[in-house]
Subunit: 466 residues, 4 copies
Amino acid sequence: MIGVADAANFVALGLHALQHRGQEAGGIVTHDPEHGFSSARRFGLVRDNFTSQKIMETLPGAIGIGHVRYSTAGSKGATQIRDVQPFFGEFAMGGAAIAHNGNIVNADELRRELIERGSIFQSSSDSECIIHLMARSLQRNIPERMKDALRRVEGAFSVVAMTRTKLIGVRDPLGVRPLVLGRVGDGWALSSETCALDIIGAEFVREIEPGEMVVISPENGVESFKPFEPRRGRFCIFEHVYFSRPDSILGGRSVYDTRRQIGVELAREAPVEADLVCPVPDSGTPAAIGYSQESGIPYAMGIIRNQYMGRTFIEPTEQIRNMGVRLKLNVNRALIKGKRVILVDDSVVRGTTSRKIKEMILDAGAAEVHFRIASPPTAWPCFYGVDTPEREKLLAATMSEEEMRSHLGVASLRFITLDGLYRAVGVAEGRDPKTPRYCDACFSGDYPVKPTDMMARGFELAEPAE
Amino acid sequence: MIGVADAANFVALGLHALQHRGQEAGGIVTHDPEHGFSSARRFGLVRDNFTSQKIMETLPGAIGIGHVRYSTAGSKGATQIRDVQPFFGEFAMGGAAIAHNGNIVNADELRRELIERGSIFQSSSDSECIIHLMARSLQRNIPERMKDALRRVEGAFSVVAMTRTKLIGVRDPLGVRPLVLGRVGDGWALSSETCALDIIGAEFVREIEPGEMVVISPENGVESFKPFEPRRGRFCIFEHVYFSRPDSILGGRSVYDTRRQIGVELAREAPVEADLVCPVPDSGTPAAIGYSQESGIPYAMGIIRNQYMGRTFIEPTEQIRNMGVRLKLNVNRALIKGKRVILVDDSVVRGTTSRKIKEMILDAGAAEVHFRIASPPTAWPCFYGVDTPEREKLLAATMSEEEMRSHLGVASLRFITLDGLYRAVGVAEGRDPKTPRYCDACFSGDYPVKPTDMMARGFELAEPAE
Amino acid sequence: MIGVADAANFVALGLHALQHRGQEAGGIVTHDPEHGFSSARRFGLVRDNFTSQKIMETLPGAIGIGHVRYSTAGSKGATQIRDVQPFFGEFAMGGAAIAHNGNIVNADELRRELIERGSIFQSSSDSECIIHLMARSLQRNIPERMKDALRRVEGAFSVVAMTRTKLIGVRDPLGVRPLVLGRVGDGWALSSETCALDIIGAEFVREIEPGEMVVISPENGVESFKPFEPRRGRFCIFEHVYFSRPDSILGGRSVYDTRRQIGVELAREAPVEADLVCPVPDSGTPAAIGYSQESGIPYAMGIIRNQYMGRTFIEPTEQIRNMGVRLKLNVNRALIKGKRVILVDDSVVRGTTSRKIKEMILDAGAAEVHFRIASPPTAWPCFYGVDTPEREKLLAATMSEEEMRSHLGVASLRFITLDGLYRAVGVAEGRDPKTPRYCDACFSGDYPVKPTDMMARGFELAEPAE
Amino acid sequence: MIGVADAANFVALGLHALQHRGQEAGGIVTHDPEHGFSSARRFGLVRDNFTSQKIMETLPGAIGIGHVRYSTAGSKGATQIRDVQPFFGEFAMGGAAIAHNGNIVNADELRRELIERGSIFQSSSDSECIIHLMARSLQRNIPERMKDALRRVEGAFSVVAMTRTKLIGVRDPLGVRPLVLGRVGDGWALSSETCALDIIGAEFVREIEPGEMVVISPENGVESFKPFEPRRGRFCIFEHVYFSRPDSILGGRSVYDTRRQIGVELAREAPVEADLVCPVPDSGTPAAIGYSQESGIPYAMGIIRNQYMGRTFIEPTEQIRNMGVRLKLNVNRALIKGKRVILVDDSVVRGTTSRKIKEMILDAGAAEVHFRIASPPTAWPCFYGVDTPEREKLLAATMSEEEMRSHLGVASLRFITLDGLYRAVGVAEGRDPKTPRYCDACFSGDYPVKPTDMMARGFELAEPAE
């Protein structure tokens, strides 16, 4: 955020809108000429921290950036407050703060090299490499140092940075993670999603392009650079399926509408006779609406979500611990009883939740349960910033679709095909395996950037044939 | 809860399921022979308090009751922890704890009398009268003292109480507030709604009847008494419209399905040409589904709710404070643009939120906005336990339907009729004004119990003609 | 405190000065015409609670009282916040708050009677009986109700109370516990000790007399009443020895000087050849100074107290737990080595600390250790408000002086005699066993008020012969 | 601490004993093979943090170091948790943590150079330079890197460091700050003072010498190195006067006894007729005892310190704020009245407290007040780790002794002479101005290490003549 009074307020609101991208912790850095750089980092939700007058007063200035943390690679043990971004570094020409969305696949190697040269890391976060690379760059200003640093970084990165006078945004050459530009009054905003622009009343200007760096200042407005070798973009298709908020706009279309369209495609690909189409709330809701509209089978809220559920409910006894998902979800027993139910969910990862939900539905007296999944089988881990379990823990990595159906114990189980998914996101001809338009590694095993560190730790890529 | 190991766990889970009935504070009392009565009362959500091993260990025993507080009558200033139920009293024959759902309309009078006789009140809660009346009863056991006390109480009350060995439940003679009985293993549960039975895996046995008292003990099971003059029941119709959870069962039917049916009736009573039917989330969702199904106009999530919104976000600047509902809701701009939108909400109370939502929708480029409200105009305050503003602040108390439409600035505004609402809850012939089956005072001004204290403070009943 | 702006500030300062009388918790009640009665009660030290602008702003008014809690009789388990005084009651003629210093010896009996009549106790504190007795009195104003109530109470009590317009102070007929009156500007203060008058800059006017009640208002100043049968006073001699602060004035003399004089008497009664007189800090310091001055043996700080020691240091391992007093005290090894040391302490209760201190001194290389104790052997528990262990745990209840010497393992052990103590507090002729001037039950077993409740629980008085 | 089970317990106890050297914050780092390095840093007292099982369990290992922070140079604004030592760095050959007691006088210059080379500072602490210098050293092991780093550092430093297997201690060439070695069981301890050895039951082995580095491991025991050019030591004389705890041993003698001896010298140099010798508690106590013993004037506790005073008491009103020291100290009015009082304090820095104490004493009715100060006039700031105000704020920098006496408004004021102080610490011939045995810059202005950074900021040394 740059060019507005009390930028920290705007940053806090934007982070609140992006809370779904990370709930563990959040941080904000601001700068104003009188107080220099100010910083606040806290565990927990934005609304529980960056709210009180008391904290916000410690963050003065017309320029600021922030970050919400979603634990991905990095910390083996518990996250410590020093792992929370933005990271700050004082350079000879002044300070800079950076916030990184994504994941660096050669971080082990970079860290080793930097330590050998005498850098001292303060966090367990891979993203800290970027600020050390910048500190060691021979370039004379911060945007140039940032280019220098990011050319050494492999992986997925949408980075937002700030100096005393400039706001900087960069997307990696493939544009795996999103980054958008907005305008509010005389100020400018950078954000992962458009829903953060909406909350601050900013107008959505455009997406930052893959491989683009923008340097924004009140004097010069938005200057665009292309510091990397040009490559064809590979945006993360999982942002459409799951990660982005349904009210954000990706590729010119509402994410909600894309998800509804996935439901439509799924109804075409995998129809079944039934009485009700019920979403697994809230993630399956848009696809269930689409499925119902395409199939003509009535949509119904067969499962109700407890809106007061947080992550802190600790079940005290064994007896209760086994209730599992019941704390979060309850079946609408009177509605479900005796019905053939199509359950629509966004994905099956480990399969444990799906299994429990199926049991709840059958306990409540449903006649049949049919699962319809709004994404292809998740068979490969993501190394670009989405937190997925190791390959062995992914149900689809070890079972065929029929084995999964039997494991989940449902009457039928169908996933949308990769081609169906591409059609739903607007690629009418489906996926071109030679030049796919998206990063779909979690479904296909086709990783557009080689996961160097993970391979060094023993991860094996799919056979080329696959 | 009685007759289960670690009753406090069951009570906590049940309160969590009932959190929508009160978010300000919660309390649990238990008893076991070794430690006697134990109590914990906390501000905030159940999941943030009654969770840690540390607190739950302080609540041993096979019998327990709890309460979640929703500030109604009583405290003028800030609630203090001593206002949080259950209330406890030590009597000559042993202690008892009570939790009261509802509101006492002659509490001022009772309190004055009790103080004159030398009782010392510890809270500002009207419900404390009950325990003092019990302390002063001449009867020799607690259930008899409770009958004695409740015969002096006017208003709406579903009361749950416990002694060292018994669980007691009572509904007032009109049965205004709900109370249900469940069975889990060898134990028994009393709860305001069936969703609390579901979460603990209890089987729904039956509703406690209006004017009934049940006394439950492991030895004698459920004993039923009728301590009051028999009257025809007047259950709160607003529980169907708004207060109860959609997955609870009232009168044999899922609340969700009743609300969907309200949408169906509303589509019949107030059709309009449009492109989309959108709920105001989450309260308008079931009625919007029903409206869409009856009208054939597609259902769509035009407004998205931020699931990380709590009540604690303090907007720090004037500029941001005015954003109001944007912190909680965002419009799906790409979806709404250029469309004629039917917005379905559950009620219009003050009208301020409705107005802001309409503005958001129009800002996002909607062509027309039509409001459809799943309840009749709320023109009278509730004195029986639902927190409503004073009469002057109710939009429908001062404006006609057309004035409200103009005030909200929408193309059309329609409320379901009182007859339509009765039909939706299953009274095929609509409302019989002579012997209405429900308490519908908030819509009709027809108060089944005279609000004594409020009338002493100047409240005027409607003319009989109305 | 009455008659000053922001009385709560004065009360907080006074409680801070009286912190040695109770560290567990503190409370303040104030009244002003606009806000009525306000109250704040907190666990922990005054300085950690009644300090912030935020809390003090909640306590407006020109009249207020407070209390610091020292757990005595009453709570069997952990103290709860509702046990913290002042206690408040709303009566038909307005509210009153009371704070009680001392202990009621017939509380069991009073509580039983009050519960039978329908009073509901909120705390486990015996002092709550007083406010219930007041609530049930037939008298028409609060001072009269208070007289009525206190005539039923047996034991030791200095009570401070407030109504909307009056400050009230009462001492029991024997005047066991202290209570003093001070004047600051146009206002009046009541306090247990004069050190609380000093801190608020108040002038010490006089002690409230045994059996006296004062009712203070801005209009009428100090009115004095004598509601009880006149009796000869028996002030607690232990206040001189241990309980009061050394800078307070009791009976016209500084407590410090009395304690120094005890040291002088002790040196006369129990001389010994040695190199150094060392106090056990800080309680033995004044007597050690007196002993040194009378004996001519140099005074030295052989034991140093860690001034950062609180009660919260939890030793984490067994190994360290055994270090015991070392966390609080350290020996000045270089000073003590090879010396014959006289250790002066105020009292020996259980003997455990004395034993550890002796070991520390010998470990550090002292040649001999001589204990001199500035009070007679503590052989009887106090039932009048000083927290002492049960009789069986008092070392002097089960051992002769020589047995104690041998148990502590020191070269010599001498206590001041009861006559010597009386001389030090100014009774030149020593103690008259027929009409002793002080309550010295902890030393003599001569209880001036029969401990009714404790006797019902099995406590046996000394034989009259003793 | 090295070579003991659960080293963190020992470190915590040691820090507790050293709490007088820094109360703002504390930190502990430990290492064990399984968990690697563990760290905890907290604001506040040791006893309030490093106590709970919960925190201590996070600090496993047989080797550990700690630090208590006393804000000296460095942070201009509020201290942040990242400013709290020990500092940790991961090097190619493994990690190291360091804790620094003292002050670096060329830190500005070092920091500038390190930033230019690409180091990123995380704190505002000068001490962080040491770990960055170590990170950039070309040496192949940590002790060598430490020598390398410390040779670039100017100023006063006693540094304790740890690697995975070694404990390291270093004193600067002048030995300005203390550092002692102890032995407990099979383990070794390093500490600023012997009182920290006492609390863990360790035996005092010897002082680390000026310019010495010891490297301690279970295998090789204590290895000694001399990495610096040999210089004649200049130990801080203020440690004797004020900084060290009275029960510590410095130069073979108890600090208490040295201070008592200062009082003796002061009585010889500056006698006066009076009735009582009273210490300003607690800092003036030992010197007052010495003064009394030498002069024969009785010692008395004329001023009583409130032992519950912390630094957190916030006086809420202007009226009360002016009471100042009264919250902490109270005069023993009954004792002081009409007496000629000699007040003994350890030092006069700004003079504000001395003035208030004098007023309290006169208010209480003292006939005369004579100040005797157990150190020479403090006329120069310390740049070697004692927190003193800027020169302009030191009373003795701007006033003669007679001007100070008049300013304080006392009958007489005398400081001990520098020669007298040297005699008291054991240099019978007094101070040799050519080769003084101590650093006495705060009294003499003779700085043994040029304060480079401060001179760059404008500080002027005394004329050589002085």
